[in-house]
Symmetry: C2
Subunit: 213 residues, 2 copies
């Protein structure tokens, strides 16, 4: 498999973690979002949406959208699982993933920050407040959801790292990059510490990628 990737892309980081958890070897194909490589003809021919990640399967098919890719990996490589077995528990894990993937990350990705600055003339200070506001709203929800589950295991859901952890950890990397205060999230920090000890998460870290720098 080939993963069209960018070291700092939070959505690509999710897929790297999922591939590592599943033990699937892949070839990273870096697409430099900072210099705009995603809008060059070469990459638009791969993914007209000009976003990473995209996963090229051995048969040539291209998959896009990080959550769709993770669900595909779960269905085709069931072990170790990224989702629990029971439907309500699966919905809870997917809901946690959705807090990050639908309510936080879309508001803070590069193209949105660029629109704020270039089209709306937002200054650096207001851009940072925007960034932190949505992270704070999302992590508030995530922390409350974890607390409500009353779980005392290491990860977001009992049993092992799940799709919820796969989404949470890249979001926390972003939060730290932008100096968001995290003291109010003890459950989230507990999960982060547990995940950091797993090679699947550590090896997917942005600074470990070939295009980091």
């Amino acid at each position: 498999m080939q993963l069209y990737d960018y070291f700092r892309s939070s959505a690509a980081y999710r897929v790297r973690i999922a591939l590592n958890i599943k033990g699937i070897a892949y070839e990273p194909v870096p697409v430099n979002l900072r210099t705009g490589e995603q809008r060059l003809q070469d990459y638009l021919a791969v993914n007209p949406q000009a976003l990473v990640p995209a996963l090229r399967l051995p048969g040539g098919e291209l998959l896009t959208q990080s959550l769709a890719i993770c669900e595909y990996l779960e269905e085709t490589h069931p072990e170790p699982p990224l989702l629990p077995a029971e439907p309500v528990a699966r919905a809870q894990v997917r809901s946690l993933a959705g807090i990050v993937a639908c309510d936080v990350h879309p508001l803070n990705n590069l193209r949105v920050l660029q629109y704020l600055v270039r089209e709306l003339g937002v200054d650096e200070d207001a851009k940072l407040r925007w960034y932190r506001h949505w992270i704070e709203r999302g992590l508030d929800a995530f922390e409350q959801a974890l607390a409500a589950q009353g779980l005392t295991g290491a990860y977001c859901h009992a049993g092992g790292p799940s799709l919820a952890d796969v989404c949470l950890i890249p979001q926390l990397f972003n939060a730290r990059r932008f100096d968001c205060p995290l003291d109010a999230y003890p459950q989230v920090l507990r999960v982060e510490a547990a995940c950091a000890r797993l090679p699947a998460f550590a090896d997917a870290h942005p600074e470990k990628q070939p295009d980091a720098g």
Copy 2:
């Protein structure tokens, strides 16, 4: 089942369609987002994230996040299916759903528009440009993905209405509400016309809901 709902909520509209497709009877519990009912103590006790939809199961469990709810309905009520059987096709449908649910809708929902106006001082005209910009970017991607699939069926994916249609139709309702031009999207409009003929979609339309007005 009880659905915490708001007639104009695009995410709630998705779940209404999914429930209707599955033939699951439910009791709507309207939460008026315009007057801020989602932030009153009564509703925060239901969903601390102050968002709709939320689905109360007969056993009392509460599910949140529209995509997680749709996946739950698919797993517990498999017929008629919202996802095709084959993994790559499932990923394609989920990817289309993700274009709407992760790349368009989060940028245009009420709390974000309110932030633009109240915190960033964005005027009505610039707010409208923001709204249309993200819809245009998303529908460009959606149209290209449909064209690339080369399908000539009535819906986003061969076989019947899927999770992709469930997400697309509410987004188009929003697009029309804000007068977004749709002429550039013939595949999308073809799907919209087909879905409009299905009672599951027609009955879920915002104007048909008890709290519409």
